[in-house]
């Protein structure tokens, strides 16, 4: 790590500066994909499958084609090339070919002069289906005689891990507990539904403005699916109205818009309705997790055995990667010696699953962190103490070969306990805030822990970032970067890192919009990689620009660059503030000279991680790991089962928080999604049909349903991070559901092992336990 990124006094990194683009957003000027209009633009609509599994016998679209205002109608016959990640499961098409495999699958696409005409056209299309037997449960889908969702069979991926001696581990345990946990599909619910605008130029070159997280990834995949050279496809990211993994581009929206534009030669805009967004995006995977764990009398985990069935749904996007995370990632949270895992990812006729903030960790965290509380109770140990005794420490190499660099879990535990008021062992307790509790209500406290990567090296063996820092003639900096912005504030952090490195004010730094035409290849914000991976690339580029700046200033001042410093918008000789040139003068002079050029420096960074072994899954996949501890106090109404969240304490180790208020905002948002995951969010599916595909029937957290979490960013420093920083957006979504489940148990003594924990489930459990008072 370079000196500039060292642990010195920081002036810009660590400041809670306003978010880049905030002014445009509060003024209504920020342009999202639905705000874009091109001359002569058409509007697209999609006819979707009403069946979970059916053969397409015949499509009659003639009447639709003849409707005035309809310009093009496409079916699967027009989209023969499979889509998906290059080298991975390519099991689907832009529009369904021969078969539909889930309700909502895209079957026919129409582009017309306006949306209403396109909708009218859909009503004129007749599709004859032959319904096929369908399967909705992953375990049933593996059974004999189960309907085959794909000809290749229903097993998508099987992961087997066996380390240490699990049987001996259980034999040496004082307490062994086994239980099954079930999680549900969770919808990202970004406020902006997915959409795209596509157009071609006179030569047929395609430009797509798409609400996607990763422009370069989607450029490659679009080109592949459309049979075009990569250079003939340009992807531009407008402002994005939330994503949380839902806009990684696994859905078909931008493909369809592009295909329609190619077919009719006119700009096409396709905006999903809210219901289509529910059906199209890849929800958090439902997982059934059977967990068996043993602990010795001192509370040390002796063995862990896990059986997982992941409901892939009808098509793979990133779900094969998600199942690996469910299976293995949280094993690096504790000092395991004996771990055995069998995870199966299975096709069903449910809507497809995929990436959602946390990427598999929330599922396993719910199971694991619920389970640890049961073990703690059986041992008679404080649940926090049980975790403390098993947690990984800085310098550890975990059972899966992860190198733990910075890890401030101890501080997180300490801060959480201090604020929530430990110890946490179950006992009658008054509310922590001293407020009176109404009759029929009980209070309880629960904690849970999770971790997350800061970037993850996948099969492509690259977890890098490429950026350019350019200085303009007036001495401002532009970061040319294709990582993009999904609204979480990543680019703001990059400007702070650049400003810190260059020695200029942060508001003198901007970031270009993400555009495959003009920015270097990037993966974009996922796997909490932006701050660490792109941040390190920005440091390198900014250092290069700084060197060029000092070199030209040295020539102008007739001084050695080593004797120069940057301060107050100028470069001067150390110890002689009068021997100075302004940054603007230096930048201008760098151009206007023989062989002159912009100050323009590239920075490339690739994380010091490895691709996990294909068979053993061993290997340090990330440069750094972040940790989140949460404690929740709930109040449960024992007569109705209703849970009210009273307090949430969140202690996070994100290394150096580059922008503390923004990090805090990430934690708040993650917790709100975690509260929904715990208590009320989830697809209501009936034979593959979504019954609650709108935000009235699928509630998400509102202001009135949330307290303000008390957040603590513990003091930390990540050696691999830019100025000590690591990721912070995903770890805090994972512990929330288990913390709430543990708090409910603490309050009323029932353990709910399936999400969401609805009042109905609590009331039934109370009745089964016989503890319910009649009305």
């Amino acid at each position: 790590m370079s000196a500039a990124a060292g642990r010195g006094k920081l002036t810009v990194v660590g400041q809670s500066l306003p978010m880049l683009g905030a002014h445009d957003k509060v003024s209504g000027r920020a342009l999202y994909v639905s705000d874009l209009k091109l001359p002569h633009m058409l509007h697209a609509k999609i006819l979707r499958s009403p069946y979970p599994h059916a053969r397409i016998v015949h499509i009659d679209a003639e009447r639709a084609r003849r409707l005035r205002g309809v310009k093009v109608v496409l079916t699967g016959a027009d989209t023969p090339r499979p889509i998906g990640a290059i080298g991975a499961h390519k099991d689907e098409h832009i529009l369904a070919v021969d078969k539909v495999r889930h309700v909502g699958e895209e079957v026919v696409a129409v582009a017309a002069v306006d949306e209403n005409t396109a909708l009218d056209a859909l009503e004129l299309i007749r599709v004859d289906y032959e319904e096929l037997p369908a399967v909705f449960d992953p375990e049933e889908a593996l059974g004999p005689g189960a309907p085959a969702v794909h000809a290749s069979g229903n097993l998508v991926r099987e992961i087997r891990i066996d380390r240490g001696d699990v049987d001996a581990g259980f034999a040496s345990a004082a307490v062994v507990h086994e239980a099954t946990y079930q999680t549900q599909p969770q919808y990202h619910a970004p406020m902006e539904p997915t959409g795209a605008v596509a157009t071609i130029d006179a030569s047929g070159r395609l430009t797509v403005w798409a609400a996607v997280q990763s422009i370069h990834r989607n450029q490659l995949r679009l080109a592949d699916a459309l049979g075009l050279p990569t250079s003939r496809v340009r992807v531009i990211q407008p402002h994005m109205g939330g994503s949380f993994g839902g806009k990684l581009g696994e859905d078909s929206t931008h493909y369809i818009a592009a295909r329609l534009a190619l077919a009719c030669g006119r700009p096409v805009r396709l905006l999903n309705t809210r219901l289509e967004d529910f059906l199209g995006v890849r929800a958090r995977m439902a997982a059934r997790i059977r967990l068996k764990m043993g602990v010795d009398p001192a509370g040390r985990i002796t063995a862990k055995e896990t059986w997982i069935h992941g409901d892939n749904g009808a098509y793979c996007g990133l779900s094969p990667e998600v199942i690996l995370v469910i299976a293995a990632r949280l094993d690096s949270l504790y000092r395991h010696r004996n771990v055995r895992t069998l995870a199966r990812l299975v096709y069903t006729n449910n809507p497809p699953s995929g990436a959602f903030r946390g990427f598999g960790n929330p599922q396993m965290a719910f199971a694991l962190e619920s389970h640890l509380d049961v073990l703690a109770e059986q041992l008679g140990m404080d649940p926090l103490e049980l975790r403390r005794r098993n947690s990984v420490q800085p310098g550890d190499t975990t059972i899966h070969g992860w190198s733990i660099g910075s890890c401030e879990l101890s501080k997180c535990y300490e801060e959480t306990a201090k604020r929530i008021g430990g110890p946490l062992r179950r006992r009658p307790r008054a509310p922590a805030d001293g407020a009176p509790v109404a009759e029929g209500r009980r209070r309880g406290i629960g904690i849970a822990v999770a971790m997350h990567v800061s970037g993850a090296r996948q099969a492509a063996d690259w977890d890098g970032s490429n950026v350019v820092v350019k200085l303009t003639p007036d001495g401002r900096a532009v970061i040319i970067c294709g990582e993009g912005d999904i609204g979480q504030g990543g680019p703001t952090a990059l400007t702070q890192i650049a400003a810190e490195t260059l020695g200029i004010p942060p508001d003198h730094v901007t970031v270009t919009p993400a555009d495959t035409e003009t920015t270097p290849f990037c993966f974009g914000p996922m796997a909490s990689r932006l701050t660490l991976v792109a941040g390190n690339a920005v440091i390198k580029a900014a250092e290069g620009a700084r060197r060029q700046l000092l070199s030209i200033a040295g020539q102008l001042l007739e001084a050695s660059p080593e004797d120069l410093t940057i301060a107050g918008g100028a470069i001067h000789v150390v110890g002689a503030p009068d021997r100075r040139v302004t940054i603007a003068q230096a930048c201008t002079a760098h151009i206007f000279r023989r062989d002159g050029e912009d100050i323009f420096a590239r920075g490339t960074y690739d994380a010091p991680s490895v691709v996990a072994d294909r068979k053993t899954y061993l290997g340090n996949v990330s440069a750094a790991y972040s940790f989140a501890v949460q404690a929740v106090e709930v109040e449960v109404d024992v007569e109705t089962g209703v849970v009210r969240i009273i307090r949430i304490v969140a202690a996070d180790d994100v290394g150096t928080p580059v922008n503390p208020r923004a990090v805090e905002g990430q934690i708040h948002g993650a917790i709100a999604q975690g509260v929904g995951y715990a208590l009320f969010e989830g697809f209501a599916l009936e034979n593959g049909r979504l019954l609650n595909g709108n935000l009235a029937d699928y509630p998400v957290a509102t202001a009135a349903s949330m307290p303000t979490p008390e957040t603590v960013l513990v003091d930390g420093w990540e050696p691999n991070g830019p100025f000590g920083a690591k990721g912070g957006s995903e770890a805090p979504i994972s512990p929330t559901a288990a913390a709430i489940a543990n708090a409910i148990y603490d309050a009323v003594g029932v353990r709910i092992t399936s999400l969401p924990i609805t009042p109905d489930k609590i009331l039934r459990a109370l009745r089964e336990r016989g503890g319910r008072r009649d009305a």
Partner: protein, 159 residues
């Protein structure tokens, strides 16, 4: 097939506008597509998310559930009309200061709700603010910084 359009006059952000609209034109679409005021967003299409919130005669309403013809001759204020050119309204400034936005898609709706709220009542408790926001959904922030921004404004008005 096509039905007669209606001549519609209304005041938008202080300016008289005359539009020719179909009966089915939503106020949201009239603002966004006919007048180019795209700051008002389409979110849930169900009347729960509040991204489409605008003021009609000073009251905050959902423009996605109102026909344009229902606001004939009324005064509509959108996010674009909140402050003068280039300037920020104190609510907008407070949102930036508190970090009360991330992706920004819901932000115009929250700001319009806040405007109606603070115009009606100067002093509010945290619980009242949270209740008043029950018609606006933000999926990014968890609301804490939004509530903080609004409470800071109510303290400003008390002073």
């Amino acid at each position: 097939m096509s039905l007669p359009r209606h001549r519609l006059t209304l005041r938008v952000n202080g300016e008289e506008q005359e539009l020719l609209v179909e009966s089915r034109r939503l106020l949201l679409d009239a603002l966004r597509d006919d007048l180019g005021l795209t700051g008002t967003k389409r979110g849930c299409e169900e009347g729960v998310c509040g991204a489409c919130t605008v003021l009609v005669d000073g009251r905050h309403v959902r423009s996605c559930l109102l026909l344009a013809l229902q606001v004939r001759d009324r005064a509509v204020t959108t996010i674009e009309g909140l402050a003068g050119d280039g300037a920020l309204h104190p609510i907008q400034a407070a949102f930036i200061r508190a970090g009360a936005l991330q992706c920004g898609y819901c932000t115009p709706g929250f700001i319009m709700t806040t405007k109606a709220l603070l115009d009606a009542r100067a002093a509010l408790t945290e619980a009242e603010v949270r209740e008043a926001l029950s018609g606006n959904i933000c999926r990014c922030t968890g609301y804490a910084h939004i509530v903080e921004a609004i409470l800071a404004l109510t303290e400003d008005t008390k002073r």
